[in-house]
């Protein structure tokens, strides 16, 4: 299952250039990594959002693999139909290929409006990999808050106002919900740690049942970050504890990034992004503190879960 760079370089691209995602957008980087980590033929369902809109502007398409988009909240339901069709036609002997099924949706399409369809698909056990490319807001409609938006972040529906400076709530822990939902393989990944990401994809597609990947995805447009910072910000997210790398295989937790000397200060991550600029003002110090507390609590919880499930 090892990833060999030399072999990777020779692989045909499954999402080709020419699409209209912004320069520095994490989504296309992630999709290419995901698709190139898989050896089998795949079929992709894609929810409405930046990725879908920017990669298939008729009459063009960037997808070199079969792809379907139908709506925003239903890519998990859509791929569950495709997968059911596959099983039916395979049973009847009309198909004899091994095919893998992927669903890509943004955080809006998974954490929020698509949660029900995702939960249902996972509960029913369709063998597919459900991938959230998580840019922590509704970017396609112009940077509105989602359940994945971190506390304090600016979005256009959680503006940095005088009275309410950024999003007041902490983000929903969707990854944990997917564990509780019974997904057989669940992981968080980041494109800065590409080998980790691609190995997780391999595990996910080889899981005989539903798998869920939550992948950190930069958005220079919405985060107010430079175009050339996709990977450096992704790395900072991991190194400051803004995004944990871990996986849960059949209920067993494994943390994939544990800094020996502790996480870097979250301020480094905050300072690098315009969406958090207001948190550096003295009057908003309490929000930054709350954000730190969110991270700490979540980290301690993860450590405990790792310990308990590996006893």
């Amino acid at each position: 299952m090892a990833i060999n760079l030399r072999e990777l370089a020779l692989k045909e691209e499954r999402l080709v250039s020419g699409h209209r995602l912004c320069a520095g957008c994490g989504a296309s980087i992630i999709v290419r990594m995901v698709l190139n980590a898989i050896d089998e033929p795949v079929v992709v369902a894609n929810a409405t959002g930046c990725l879908e809109v920017a990669t298939t502007i008729f009459p063009f398409t960037s997808w070199n693999v079969p792809w379907i988009h139908s709506a925003f909240e239903n890519s998990a339901a859509t791929i569950s139909g495709v997968e059911a069709a596959y099983r039916a036609l395979k049973k009847k002997g009309e198909i004899n290929r091994e095919i893998r099924f992927l669903s890509f949706s943004g955080d809006g399409g998974t954490y929020d409006i698509g949660l029900q369809a995702l939960s249902g698909a996972i509960e029913r056990g369709h063998r597919a990999v459900y991938i959230c490319y998580n840019n922590e807001a509704y970017m396609n409609t112009g940077i509105q808050r989602s359940g994945a938006t971190p506390r304090g972040a600016f979005t256009t529906t959680s503006p940095a106002g005088k009275v309410i400076p950024g999003k007041p709530q902490k983000r929903k822990n969707l990854t944990e919900m997917m564990v509780a939902n019974g997904a057989k393989y669940v992981a968080q990944a980041s494109p800065s740690h590409w080998r980790d990401l691609m190995e997780k994809v391999k595990k996910a597609v080889n899981t005989d049942g539903p798998a869920f990947l939550n992948i950190y995805s930069t958005c220079p447009r919405g985060w107010r970050t430079p175009d050339n910072s996709a990977i450096s910000i992704s790395r900072l997210a991991v190194e400051t504890g803004a995004w944990f790398l871990y996986e849960v295989e059949d209920g067993k937790y494994k943390i994939n990034y544990k800094p020996a000397k502790g996480f870097k200060p979250i301020e480094e991550y905050i300072k690098a992004q315009g969406r958090f600029a207001h948190l550096l003002k003295p009057e908003n110090a309490h929000i930054l503190e709350a954000l730190k507390k969110d991270i700490e609590e979540e980290w301690n919880r993860l450590l405990r879960l790792e310990e308990v499930t590996n006893r």
Binding site: V43, V65, S70, S80, A84, A85, L89
Partner: protein
């Protein structure tokens, strides 16, 4: 060639499920709702007992039901589902997408009122809310028609020049839960009639990747929609053709409309679904008395059979158009709107009277229909119609 016909006493929903079973589709994704629940239940039994090869997807909502149907159909599977009322309303977004993606999904709808107030009984509000979604809509008068229409729907939907989803409606409770004796087809006859589904492009053809459902902007969206409009228009002769083929096979011929005692009829009622059965009785009785009355049944509402309807009505004096749904804030129901619009350009046309009846399952009896005919005759004398009339309501 007609062999020995098998007959069975069966409820509407069971007949629908039986028809599904005989088609033996690749995928059924469905969610229960009164009054169509038994279709899903019965079909689950067939699946659990290994009587079909179908992959049954017991989804968590109707929105996901239609989404899964869309995914499965785009993957090249023959797909069926059933719903009603709130379920159809929840699917609304996906109905348009199924039609625009040109996916031949078959759906039965046990037509039921829409909330609020919540009400589980029959009217046509659900289907009428979907009338612009691009689906072909067929309405069934009785259990036999439910059964027959499902087979025809498969053949119509999958016709290469159509490739559109088809909705087969029947009245909630009145038809869904009534036991009728119907004639059955043998499985092999059904399978021969519907044939094999062989779509040209599918998601599972991984060597020839396609992108289904792209973004189409100002330069191309309109053409997609017009192509879709032509497809549903062009389905009309195909629906007739399939109805004839089905008649040759079973002796039960189907057209897009049905004229009942329309020869020389001066006062005519237009209706859909089970009410047609009630109206037949009244027409028979009044004809016995020598009154020139007739009945026009609309079986296919989408595509709207404009020419057939206009031709059927052109020599009529007064037509009463019975809608089992309402368009609040307007002057009649959807049938009334469409029929009167269709006749607008013709010099010879009847006076049209709008009726709304039976909302939330309110009974419509032979007495009501007799009164309608009486009113139509008065209107004939008066020379102009009354305002929109509600039948059987306390005002």
């Amino acid at each position: 060639m007609k062999t020995q016909v098998r007959k069975i006493a069966i409820e509407g929903n069971e007949a629908a499920a039986l028809a599904f079973k005989q088609v033996n589709p690749d995928v059924v994704a469905a969610y229960p709702i009164t009054p169509s629940t038994e279709v899903v239940q019965k079909f689950s039994e067939y699946v659990a007992n290994g009587e079909v090869d179908t992959e049954f997807v017991p989804v968590e909502s109707e929105h996901s039901a239609m989404s899964a149907c869309i995914g499965a159909s785009a993957a090249g599977a023959r797909v069926m589902t059933s719903t009603a009322s709130q379920g159809l309303a929840l699917m609304w977004e996906m109905l348009y997408i199924a039609a625009s993606l040109r996916l031949p999904i078959i759906m039965t709808v046990a037509n039921r009122a829409l909330s609020a107030p919540i009400n589980i009984h029959g009217d046509h509000s659900d289907a009428m809310g979907a009338r612009d979604s691009g689906w072909i809509q067929i309405f069934s008068e009785n259990v036999q028609e439910v059964y027959d229409n499902i087979f025809q729907a498969v053949k119509i939907a999958e016709n290469e020049n159509v490739r559109l989803p088809v909705m087969v409606g029947y009245d909630g409770f009145i038809t869904s839960h009534s036991v009728e004796t119907i004639e059955l087809l043998d499985d092999d006859v059904v399978r021969n009639f519907v044939g094999k589904y062989r779509p040209k492009y599918t998601l599972l053809d991984v060597d020839n990747p396609i992108s289904v459902g792209p973004l189409a902007l100002t330069d191309s969206y309109f053409e997609f929609k017009v192509a879709q409009a032509y497809a549903i228009e062009n389905s009309l002769p195909i629906i007739k053709q399939v109805g004839k083929e089905y008649g040759d096979l079973t002796g039960r011929y189907y057209d897009v409309i049905e004229k009942y005692k329309m020869d020389g009829a001066e006062y005519v009622i237009v209706a859909m679904s089970s009410t047609v059965g009630t109206a037949r009785e009244v027409v028979d009785a009044l004809r016995e008395k020598g009154l020139p009355v007739g009945l026009l049944k609309i079986r296919v509402f989408r595509p709207f059979p404009t020419e057939d309807i206009v031709n059927a009505l052109k020599d009529v004096k007064v037509v009463g158009i019975l809608d089992r749904s309402m368009v609040p804030g307007s002057f009649g129901g959807p049938l009334y709107h469409e029929i009167t619009s269709a006749m607008y350009h013709f010099d010879k046309r009847p006076i049209a009277q709008a009726y709304v009846y039976g909302l939330g399952g309110r009974d419509i009896t032979t007495n009501h229909i007799e009164k309608v005919f009486e009113e139509l005759m008065e209107i004939g004398k008066k020379g102009k119609p009354n305002p929109l009339t509600y039948i059987g309501v306390r005002e």
